[in-house]
Symmetry: C2
Subunit: 370 residues, 2 copies
């Protein structure tokens, strides 16, 4: 025995990795800031001015720990959704909630189903707790509810991950499809319905919140529509027993007090959210037009980003991405074929999108001649 | 099989609990705010005004995720301590760091050693990952390094938890004692040296940071001396391999961007920390005097709180605590005998301590006649 700490067998096998490299690391590598930050589906339109004000006010009170019960925000969310607060668990973003949920359900020998090319951070959590991940292909540019359910049935999965709207493709299913999917979740299995982008989706994309039962847990966030990615506030909506179980292992004092105050104010300013939704629609149309002007096809989007089909294979799209990064445009792309024929561009301000429009023709040209 | 989610065997056995009930929950229960908030060892003196300003400025930028590498803060901490940044891991408070560390090392069948009555959140993490916890008694009002090492040797522990200065007793060991303890950590075991309160301890309480090897990982925080408990910023200092291993399972995008900015500014304002240290000394003397005026003995403190021996048993101290809470004074007390003969009072402003001084005589009187 050496004097080195003894990692668990599981931890010893895990790579020291990061699901996403941050734009700051890329900026340090290129020794220059990005001109447009359009890669992480952040909301460049920012949080509500009321949320900013609330956070600024809360800064001086940060000597106090946050309320570990998140009482006020939880109650406000309950009122907002017309459900009781014991159906809601708040934590530091959907990533944290996914980690706690996977920890509660998954250990070595347990099976989990997701779509090949869906959210890598979920996969990271499954691997991190020793679960076995089964991936089903997208159907076209859509996650495939039937294939997910069928695979879960086949492998006896404890968890299915499904995002609606989808990231990275921006596609979406209608509420009726989701409702049917929930009904079909096998006994002993739980559907994670990640609705991070739901505020940007068309009406009718989300089942009524009140009607969800024990077969689904829904994930929502203040990171996207509400423009508070850096604050780390997400919430889960689910059956009371499951929500209560989070208290078994969650980091009770893990929330930032300033973020709590910000999210509460943001929730109360639905007018701002409406404004952001309009800005997103304008930006989506603009990105679609930029794509078309460059002979590319933008996929329909129900999110705050647009996925652009670069028309060739993954290697080509990767070269386009590389040249955009070189030109100071931070964008990302899907990881898995055939989705990796695309690049993914977050909705930006007119300044951001002008920069993207200016950089794209050269990036394409270079990618073609590389 | 029902349609209920299937928790892991471990998760199913865990209680849905919280290591500490927050003061806000107590305020809701008593339908009135506390007059003095002296129970959670928060710093009522607040964060540096420069930190507040930095957080207020960062609020508008919160639409961006935080840098997952925490590059700037990590580098500043490295410079502050005169070590390289790859020895440092930043996360959302020591609670989070402890959780990640326990997850990396402890699973069912693994042994962990701590002091009976030491930090309950650490025990919560050990239970939450299925470890077996062994507790050794305090020696007087001090954690007992020899007993901890000896027990770790006996049970083949992977982890020892040791806080210096200690919470809840406020006592402290000298650097030389800690250094000897580190040398004696058995092969294959890791000492967690929780130095949350180190900024309030006398010179010579901490081993030189540069000299720590693979047998120890140190935990520091911006929650106590720096007055930023609600921001959730802590850091671990340890061997490069161990620090790197955090990247296997940590929540890479878990940090609040506002908190990162605040901690960076707080670290740069050491004058403010010095001022807080002076305020803490004044408050400690004042609490000691209030105790004496009531016929009680305050223990010497190397922290931002003072532990007061109420002179009888745990039941009596608990009654004193109850009457203080009733009177609007939020304080806490040790959980385990014989330390539970005490109550624990955080350093406060003159207004806080006047309120405590006004409430204590009646609380004692009522506790005696209950």
């Amino acid at each position: 025995m050496t004097n080195d700490p003894r990692l668990t067998n599981l931890a010893a096998t895990l790579p020291a990795t990061v699901p996403f490299v941050g734009p700051e690391a890329q900026e340090r590598a290129r020794s220059a800031p990005f001109e447009a930050r359009l890669g992480a589906n952040e909301s460049v339109f920012g949080p509500s001015p009321r949320a900013i004000e609330a956070m600024q006010k809360a800064a001086a009170d940060v000597w106090m720990y946050a309320d570990p019960e998140n009482h006020d925000l939880r109650q406000a969310l309950a009122d907002h959704h017309g459900i009781s607060a014991d159906h809601i668990m708040i934590d530091a973003g959907i990533d944290t909630l996914l980690g706690v949920l996977v920890r509660l359900l998954i250990t070595s020998g347990d099976h989990v189903v997701t779509s090949a090319g869906a959210y890598p951070t979920f996969n990271y959590h499954v691997a991190g707790f020793g679960g076995t991940l089964h991936q089903v292909p997208y159907k076209g540019d859509f996650e495939d509810p039937d294939a997910l359910i069928s695979k879960a049935d086949e492998v006896g999965a404890k968890l299915i991950y499904f995002a609606n709207p989808d990231n990275p493709m921006g596609s979406q299913h209608k509420a009726a499809t989701i409702e049917k999917m929930i009904e079909n979740v096998p006994d002993g299995c739980l559907l994670i319905l990640d609705e991070a982008y739901i505020e940007m989706a068309p009406e009718g994309s989300a089942p009524t919140v009140a009607e969800t039962g024990t077969r689904v847990i829904r994930m929502r966030t203040f990171s996207k529509g509400y423009g508070m990615a850096g604050a780390r506030v997400g919430y889960a909506i689910g059956a009371v027993d499951l929500i209560t179980a989070f208290n078994k292992v969650r980091n009770h004092f893990g929330m930032c007090r300033i973020s709590q105050a910000g999210a509460l104010a943001a929730l109360k300013d639905q007018d701002w959210l409406n404004q952001v939704q309009e800005n997103v629609q304008v930006a989506r149309a603009w990105i679609t037009q930029i794509a078309a002007e460059n002979g590319l096809t933008a996929l329909p989007s129900s999110t705050n980003f647009v996925t652009i089909d670069c028309g060739r294979d993954g290697a080509f799209a990767k070269r386009v991405l590389g040249h955009l990064i070189e030109a100071g445009i931070f964008v990302r792309m899907p990881f898995v074929a055939p989705q990796d024929r695309c690049i993914r561009v977050s909705c930006g301000t007119s300044i951001d999108l002008d920069a993207f429009a200016a950089a794209l023709p050269t990036a394409l040209e270079r990618a073609k001649s590389d």
